[in-house]
């Protein structure tokens, strides 16, 4: 003890040292305090923001796309829950065992699952990783009952667009696809992000904005492992607006059934307002496949085969109208006064112009023919004469007036205009003057004339509704989830054709005769209790000589056969439905297409579908 007692000198010295130490301590604590001041006050808000960033994730919630219904409210397109098989990497005890157990439960692609699990292990441990999208009901049931054996497995649900009747009305409904880079940049798709599905064609495209609804979102608090702790705030997604079509499901089904195995199109329309009742094109496709994915063969067939199933032939198929065009020529002749209803012309089966010879389809001729008979029996010679009297430009004027050779305005994408030739057009397009013989073939709807099945439907409707050309429409209403209508159907009159009603009556009577008169060309569309009016048409694919040569060798090859047209309106005196049918390479319109029209009319008028 004595030895360690301070002597005064060293004690003074030691106290001095302690004072230095105290100053040192104060300085160091000052530095620490300044550091904390710097972190918490100077940069406090910066670090506060960083801590918020750390914990808050934004998660988007998909909206439910609007439902699409037929005219009587039956659902055609809806969203169904799609079950995805996911895993939470952190909760998997043993990947090998899990994979083995999954393999026993269903037909899963084990190699891809294995890679996905392996990749997931390096990501966020609590972020679910999808192993298989849209598992089947059976797989779902199996997985749910074995949940205890499958640690880490999780089933998530999301809405998936589903087309209840598969390919039914595929062209008209359209399909969904991922938004393209270009579309995103165009700004035409607000509130849409990369990877979103948008309507690419058909109704899905036309009403994309309304069907889409509003994206919802959640602010979720997550921990450092990415595990969801709680929802901080949420704005629920807004369901899209529902679309009700003018299309009748039964009629659409019938039309598609009639087209089965054929190439062609059927359009049924209400002549009084332009509402489309059915719009079918064959071959068709199933829009569901654009969501679930194609197998290679189906896809190849879709894009590269000559069948072009993606084309909607009702709007994009352009064909010569054949004898249907005679209606135009007849109306033009009457209105222009170049012929009277009673004037008869003689048909001996042949018509000569210069050195050219033009035949009637009836080899030995019809004899004396007036306008009514010419239409009923579809005499070519009568219309050669009438066409020559009118000249091509006058014919063209009436054709266009009646809605041919131009887009009908049905907003379904890609509609083709067809073609109504004039002398001016010929000069411009080909650089050579119009030939008289071309007028002759134009008069029976050949030469350069091209129309679409949809145009034929609007045109025939105009003839029967008193001369009103309506814009065809597909939508009855579009309604927001709250019940507010965004859109309501109103007939849109494009023009009145300006032909005297009595002339229209004459033609209507003749067309009723074409179906109901025993000499008529369209008798196959005749119904016992309903007066159907109609006109056949046969569009030549190759010239007569080639056809003849082919015939000499036996049966004409399919691709050389004529396209078969039929357009019908019923009931003739108070029309409620127009049906336009085109069968590619179907041969004669009277035999191939008329029965289809008849079936549709029968189904539609026998059952009072209309309000």
């Amino acid at each position: 003890m004595k030895s360690s007692n301070f002597d005064p000198i060293t004690q003074d010295l030691f106290e001095k040292q302690l004072k230095i130490a105290m100053v040192f301590v104060l300085v160091i604590f000052g530095v620490i305090f300044l550091r904390l001041w710097f972190l918490q006050i100077v940069n406090g808000s910066f670090y506060r923001a960083k801590s918020e960033n750390n914990r808050i994730r934004l998660q988007s919630m998909p909206s439910f796309r609007g439902v699409i219904r037929d005219r009587s409210g039956k659902i055609l397109v809806d969203n169904r829950p799609s079950y995805d098989l996911c895993v939470i990497p952190e909760e998997i005890h043993d990947a090998g065992t899990l994979l083995n157990r999954l393999a026993a439960l269903g037909d899963f692609d084990m190699t891809s699952m294995r890679t996905k699990i392996r990749q997931a292990a390096s990501g966020y441990p609590f972020k679910p990783v999808c192993l298989k999208k849209d598992i089947s009901r059976e797989e779902l049931a199996m997985l749910e009952t074995r949940r205890f054996d499958l640690p880490g497995v999780m089933i998530t649900v999301r809405p998936q667009r589903t087309y209840f009747y598969g390919a039914l009305a595929g062209h008209l409904l359209g399909y969904l696809g991922e938004i393209s880079e270009k579309q995103l940049k165009s700004g035409a798709f607000p509130d849409t992000r990369s990877g979103d599905l948008i309507g690419k064609t058909g109704i899905e495209r036309k009403w994309q904005k309304s069907l889409k609804g509003g994206r919802g979102g959640e602010q979720v608090e997550v921990d450092a492992a990415g595990r969801r702790i709680k929802v901080i705030s949420r704005s629920p997604p807004i369901s899209g607006a529902d679309v009700c079509l003018t299309v009748d499901r039964e009629l659409q089904m019938l039309a598609e059934k009639a087209l089965e195995g054929k190439h062609g199109a059927v359009v049924a329309m209400d002549p009084r307002n332009g509402q489309i009742l059915a719009l079918a094109s064959s071959p068709s496709f199933d829009p569901n496949l654009f969501i679930t994915g194609f197998d290679e063969k189906t896809w190849k067939n879709m894009v590269s085969s000559g069948d072009h199933p993606l084309n909607n032939r009702a709007l994009t198929g352009q064909y010569p109208p054949g004898s249907i065009f005679k209606i135009v020529v007849a109306l033009a002749g009457l209105q222009e006064g170049v012929i009277t209803p009673d004037e008869t012309l003689f048909c001996n089966g042949q018509y000569s112009l210069g050195r050219g010879k033009y035949r009637c389809w009836k080899r030995w001729g019809h004899g004396k023919v007036n306008l009514n008979r010419a239409l009923v029996e579809s005499c070519d010679i009568y219309f050669y004469h009438l066409g020559m009297r009118l000249g091509v430009d006058r014919i063209a004027r009436y054709a266009r007036q009646l809605g041919l050779g131009q887009k009908t305005g049905l907003d379904l994408g890609n509609e083709k205009a067809g073609l109504i030739p004039t002398t001016e057009w010929k000069k411009k397009r080909w650089g050579v003057p119009w030939q008289g013989g071309e007028t002759v073939s134009t008069a029976i709807g050949q030469s350069f004339v091209l129309v679409t099945p949809l145009q034929i439907a609007t045109f025939a409707s105009a003839v029967f509704n008193g001369g009103h050309v309506y814009r065809p429409q597909l939508t009855q209403w579009v309604r927001k989830p709250g019940g507010e209508n965004i859109f309501e159907f109103k007939p849109q009159l494009i023009r009145d054709v300006g032909i005297k009603p009595e002339y229209l009556e004459l033609v209507k009577k003749a067309l009723a005769g074409a179906v109901n008169n025993s000499h008529g060309t369209g008798t196959k569309a005749k119904l016992p209790d309903i007066t159907v009016a109609g006109k056949t048409g046969t569009a030549q694919v190759v010239n007569l000589k080639k056809e003849k040569d082919a015939k000499a060798k036996g049966e004409i090859p399919w691709k050389y056969r004529d396209h078969a047209w039929f357009v019908a309106v019923a009931p003739a005196d108070a029309p409620r439905i127009t049906v336009s049918v085109l069968i590619e390479h179907g041969g004669h319109g009277g035999s191939a297409s008329a029965p289809i029209a008849k079936k549709l009319i029968e189904a539609y008028l026998r059952v009072p579908v209309d309000s």
């Binding site: 003890m1 060293t10 030691f14 301590v25 104060l26 918490q40 670090y47 750390n54 608090e221 450092a224």
Partner: protein, 367 residues
Amino acid sequence: MLDRRLIQNFDWVLLLLLLLLAGISILNLYSATYAIREVGGSRIFMKQFYWFLIGFGVCLVMITFNYYYLERLAYPAYFLTVALLMIVLVAGKVMSGSQRWLTLGPLVFQPSELAKISMVLVLAKFFSDRGDVVEYRLRDLWQPFILILIPCALILKEPDLGTALFVGVVSFSMILLVKVNRKSILIFVGVCVLAAPVIWFGMKDYQQRRILTFLQPDTEPLGAGYHINQSKIAIGSGQFWGKGYLKGTQTRLHFLPEQHTDFAFSVFAEEWGLAGVTVLLLLYLFLVLWGLYIAKGSKDRFGAILAAGIVGIVFWQVVINVGMVTGLLPVVGIPLLLFSYGGSSLISTMAAMGLLMNISMRRFMFQ
């Protein structure tokens, strides 16, 4: 031994400081382990509470005898520590790559904790024996250097860079306190600068990486720099008033690593802000200044140097730990004394505090 005078001289200030720190520590540990309370978190918090009770018991034991007897025990304690440090290298428990723990029945403890206090003790003894020296020169210091070097090297071998450096820093500050000739200091610093590259290449990979990430924490935001960054976010986001008790998101959502041990201070800073942290730092500052005051008041040389050494332990732990979690110093794994979770550290700290109290109580006594 405990006569009336002792009770009269009992250091209530020191006891109050310790109780306050213990209270805040337990309060904070409850929050740090709140998010994991269902998986053993509440056990951690309760355990620390019991450790504190034991700690205060140890503290009381430490004041019952006159610290004078420790002079005789200084060297034996030192050699026992060295022996234990050697045993731990052979028979120690290996945890996460280093061999730091010794198992004695149900007890698991770190001999390196013991090293801190026996180092202080042995140096206090060494310098008090040479009471007549006014200014030490380098050549007078070869013995203390060896005394320091042996345990430091053994701890470094475990490997535990943090504790080895800590023991070194505390020891050197004691040497500086007893006054070293200025020329000697300059020579020593020069030697250290020259030796730095040698030490650098002798370090383990992870040790080198820690120093590198300290220098540039943003280069490895998900690797070693992650800890520093998340700690800075936690502290900074507390701003002035803090996020509120149990409301620290960095803590609750596990962004903050080691929250109940090395980064307990960050938890506190996040939830209580600069306001709370200032109070906490003032408590530590008072503790340190009070310790120096005790050293100054000690009537004998051994007690004075011992008290100063204990103050050194307190001071440097606070500085290194807070410096580390605020990004001023590299992450070396030094807990904050009386605040971080950990039994061994708490018991040895409380023992040291008991000694300090012992010296404080006996400063007016002449025997």
